[in-house]
Assembly symmetry: C2
Homo-oligomer: 137 residues x 2
């Protein structure tokens, strides 16, 4: 299941992408519009800023704005930043690979092979959907 963190993050990005101008939007504007706890959203936006997807401006008239064009922000990237691996098991993750301690032979593991299929399908969607696609739907 998707965490609220990721869900809120995606909603906030969508909100920013929908703005007419790419000017700073205050956290409280986003949090009120999208029904997200102000403080929680704050921490999420901070993560996205550090990852390079958001820029920020302090002080009066400040807020957050997109650092990239929505078409250059694949959902997969946001997902990895906020949620972590897209794969269902570390042993099938491309970006967060880890060996299973209980599995002597990965290639012989039927669960492993199944989850590779699932991963590929999810990846295909999440890599090929951008923030721009999201606001169109």
């Amino acid at each position: 299941m998707l965490s609220r963190k990721t869900k809120y993050g995606l909603k906030a990005l969508t909100f920013l992408a929908k703005q007419d101008k790419n000017e700073p939007v205050q956290i409280s504007v986003i949090s009120q519009s999208e029904n997200i706890s102000h403080k929680f959203l704050e921490s999420i936006l901070l993560i996205l800023r550090k990852a390079g997807y958001l820029g920020s401006k302090k002080g009066k008239g400040g807020g957050y704005y997109l650092m990239k064009h929505p078409s250059d922000i694949p959902i997969a990237a946001v997902y990895r930043i906020l949620e972590g691996p897209i794969a269902m098991m570390p042993c099938v993750s491309l970006n967060f690979y880890e060996k299973c301690d209980d599995c002597p032979d990965e290639k012989a593991c039927s669960v492993h092979n199944l989850m590779i299929q699932v991963r590929d399908n999810c990846l295909q969607i999440l890599e090929n959907t951008s923030l721009e696609d999201l606001i169109k739907s």
Copy 2:
């Protein structure tokens, strides 16, 4: 991410499906072969038994065995029993639907629409893969 519970459950079912005869296999045989904590596996097998996928026999020569042919056990069903909803958000779940409290209009939610796509893709795989398919791979 897939919980160990589900992973272990699938591995145990796979182990049983691989047996030549469908005769009771002791928990300890499975737990040792698959490197799973005996007590933890015990609780997982119990769940699968109550769900009707496994039968059990007590006493000497006892153990667990499949109640259905592997081709009649879709992975999606096992997943739902052990892991819960396949959907990434309750608002896109077919079997465990729940409205989001933060979302006034589901149809207007871009995250919602994206996750429907993801769900459909995962479902397509998990519904159409049976335990029998798993042991072949």
